[in-house]
């Protein structure tokens, strides 16, 4: 998927005017925060668990090589295989090779952001393998040829009428006059259509929320059960995982699981938390014949030891974007690539470059709400600021903006000059502001005054008034 992050402003403008999207975002913007707050209120240990989860992940990152090696040993011991991929292309080729060897025609997919990151679906199709998304949200956007707008709710930007229209256009074998007005009917139709796909699939691909070094297990977390049908019924289960998904033990993952669902949707626990360890055993009567874990680096190892290392603690819960006031107005597609919202603002420049994705860490007020709800206590605004520092060094922001800032900084570091200038400016603006007390329009401030008035200054600067009072003996 080609990023359009460089067009964030245009994307955002379009998003602001998209009635269906705005309706969907209104539903989202209070729902998620309320549900999360309710779940946390029921668990007194939540804050302590956040600290523990952060500590576990930090420990893993400091010893990531050891945990990856251990994980691989365990997977191999149980008859599975680990593949190491540096780049998206290596990962795509690895997956295709497995599919080809097994003569796979169709592949069912559980939700995996890594597959989006490496643009796997298009590649498989080009090479004669048909991928079928099975997570309902992912399925909907697949048939609409869109990409996900949220890390856990990919189709959240749509209203049900849009879904119904897409089903009618795609499920052409069904009665065109059937009613598709409400959510239950849509879900029932998707269930029937996809159940046939599950049964026919040759290979199942899922992501991994976590990879457990102790046992060589991968874990997926779903509410639908699609990831389970994907991996249980097929010849092979391929797991796509980025390097940082490692967790040491089953006890450690239990700690992190406790903060995951509560942060994501406000559930106590997701409906299906599934721990997969190797291929089916000789005595089993179901399960995949092969188990493959495809590890993707694509910049993760380079993030270690840098000011962006903390980003590797992310467990893809989506709490940050659920609480982000910017995301709440423009939705996920505006961010222009796989990962939206605050976590996308930090991660995307690493993966596609700051020249392409520079807008993302800039389109934040640093309100800090994301960091306050992140179960892994990731300092998201701080890392967005680091991106801004990198951009400043490379002089990537618009010239007018940089010069304006330079001018301000110059005056601000010369107080007598500053105070003389501001004494004058405030008088001028105060005078022009007139009895109305505000400006409907201001040169150089059109962005502001297009939608808002600019209140007029009172007409004198505080510092000049204070200096006057001191001279007149009014103040100390």
């Amino acid at each position: 998927m080609q990023p359009t992050s460089h067009a964030f402003k245009e994307n955002a403008r379009e998003a602001l005017g998209n009635a269906n999207l705005q309706k969907a975002l209104t539903l989202m913007r209070s729902g998620f925060p309320e549900r999360r707050a309710a779940a946390i209120a029921r668990l007194p240990e939540f804050e302590a668990l956040r600290e523990e989860a952060k500590a576990i992940k930090n420990h893993v990152l400091e010893h990531l090589d050891f945990y990856l090696e251990t994980f691989e040993q365990q997977v191999t011991a149980r008859g599975g295989q680990v593949h190491w991929c540096r780049t998206p292309q290596e990962a795509r080729e690895t997956v295709l090779a497995i599919c080809r060897r097994l003569d796979a025609k169709t592949v069912t997919k559980g939700k995996t952001m890594i597959a989006e990151e490496i643009a796997l679906n298009d590649y498989l199709e080009e090479n004669g393998v048909t991928p079928v998304e099975t997570d309902l949200g992912e399925y909907i956007i697949q048939i609409r040829k869109e990409y996900p707008s949220h890390v856990i709710a990919p189709a959240i930007h749509l209203v049900k009428e849009q879904v119904a229209a897409s089903f009618r256009a795609t499920h052409t074998e069904l009665d065109p006059n059937r009613r598709l007005e409400d959510a239950p009917t849509l879900v029932a139709e998707a269930r029937a259509v996809l159940r046939r796909k599950f049964l026919a699939a040759d290979v199942g691909i899922t992501g991994a929320n976590f990879c457990i070094a102790e046992t060589g297990s991968t874990i997926i977390v779903t509410n639908e059960g699609n990831g389970d049908l994907t991996q249980t019924l097929t010849k092979a289960h391929i797991v796509l995982a980025s390097l940082e998904k490692l967790v040491p033990t089953l006890e450690d993952v239990s700690t992190i699981l406790r903060v995951l669902a509560r942060s994501a949707t406000g559930q106590e626990f997701s409906t299906y938390t599934t721990v997969s360890t190797g291929p089916r055993r000789p005595e089993d009567t179901d399960g995949p014949g092969e188990f493959h874990v495809v590890f993707l680096d694509n910049g993760r190892s380079a993030m270690l030891g840098t000011e962006f290392q903390d980003m590797l603690r992310c467990i893809r819960c989506g709490a940050c974007m659920n609480h982000c006031p910017v995301y709440a107005t423009v939705g996920g597609h505006a961010y222009g690539w796989v990962y939206p919202g605050p976590m996308g603002a930090v991660l995307t420049p690493t993966l596609v470059g700051v020249a392409e994705a520079g807008h993302l860490p800039n389109a934040s007020t640093f309100c800090g709400r994301c960091e306050s709800v992140c179960p892994m206590k990731i300092p998201l605004p701080k890392m967005m600021r680091h991106w801004r520092e990198r951009e400043f060094e490379k002089q990537l922001s618009p010239a007018a903006y940089r010069y304006g800032l330079k001018l301000w900084a110059f005056f601000a570091s010369h107080p007598p000059l500053y105070q003389a200038a501001t004494a004058l400016m405030t008088r001028l603006l105060g005078w022009f502001g007139g009895p109305r007390g505000r400006f409907r329009s201001l040169p150089l401030a059109q962005g502001w005054t297009q939608g808002r008035d600019m209140p007029a200054p009172e007409g004198r600067s505080f510092m000049s008034l204070w200096a006057e009072r001191r001279k007149n003996g009014d103040a100390a």
Binding site: G225, T249, T277, R281, S301, G305
Partner: protein, 226 residues
């Protein structure tokens, strides 16, 4: 092994400004993995006596649209299952895992239940399984795969009935892991908390997305007598 593997591990080490871990460090980490320790376990279930844990287990399960039924004895299970199905106009034909935990139940007491022991197929509407444990903390069922408990039986049928024994109820996931470590790690461990659901259409909760639309627990309260 492979060039990519070496490069990735090398890149990690370069970023962390060190070489491969020294022996003592490795040993320490291996020891940590060999004897896993529990982190903080919430008091919610752990602080309760067992009978109260069972109550909590069922209460939490009901919160997520699982239906529950308590029976006093093994002999009461067939009636409980038959009644559940007839009350909802569900078929009395069901697939049951070959799990030995279900063997001592007198299914013959309800002959209208047509039972096939084996692996579920897509045509099966109702499935009955046992389980490995019930986690009181969140009303979660822990099921493990094996020759006598194929994973697909938990997912294919639209109605999933799970027979749970009181002594299988534990406080936390950690206790489930402790019990499971007494055996070999199975291919699949399913933690199931309620029936299948989605909020993907206008964030409205709908049940039965891909997995079962109905999840029913029949709990044999074998401690109730004591």
């Amino acid at each position: 092994m492979s060039e990519a593997r070496d490069q990735i591990l090398g890149s990690i080490r370069r970023s962390l400004k060190r070489g491969p871990l020294e022996e003592t460090q490795r040993a320490g980490l291996e020891q940590r993995l060999a004897a896993p320790r529990r982190n903080l376990v919430p008091a919610r279930a752990a602080a309760l006596p067992h009978a109260a844990q069972i109550d909590l287990f069922l209460k939490m399960a009901e919160e997520v649209q699982t239906t529950v039924m308590r029976v006093a004895r093994v002999g009461d299970v067939p009636a409980a299952v038959a009644d559940y199905l007839s009350q909802r106009n569900l078929p009395s034909r069901l697939v049951m895992t070959p799990d030995p935990q279900l063997d001592d139940i007198p299914w013959g007491d309800r002959p209208m239940l047509e039972i096939r022991r084996g692996r579920a197929e897509d045509r099966d509407q109702v499935g009955v399984t046992a389980c490995f444990a019930g986690i009181a903390e969140t009303g979660t069922l822990m099921l493990v795969s094996g020759p006598e408990s194929p994973t697909r039986n938990n997912f294919l049928p639209e109605t999933h009935i799970v027979v749970v024994r009181g002594k299988q109820v534990v406080a936390s996931y950690e206790e489930g892991w402790t019990r499971l470590r007494e055996k070999a790690m199975p291919r699949t461990v399913n933690f199931i908390t309620g029936p299948s659901r989605t909020g993907d259409i206008e964030q409205r909760l709908e049940l039965g997305a891909h997995g079962p639309r109905r999840l029913h627990i029949v709990l044999i309260d074998d401690e109730a007598a004591s």
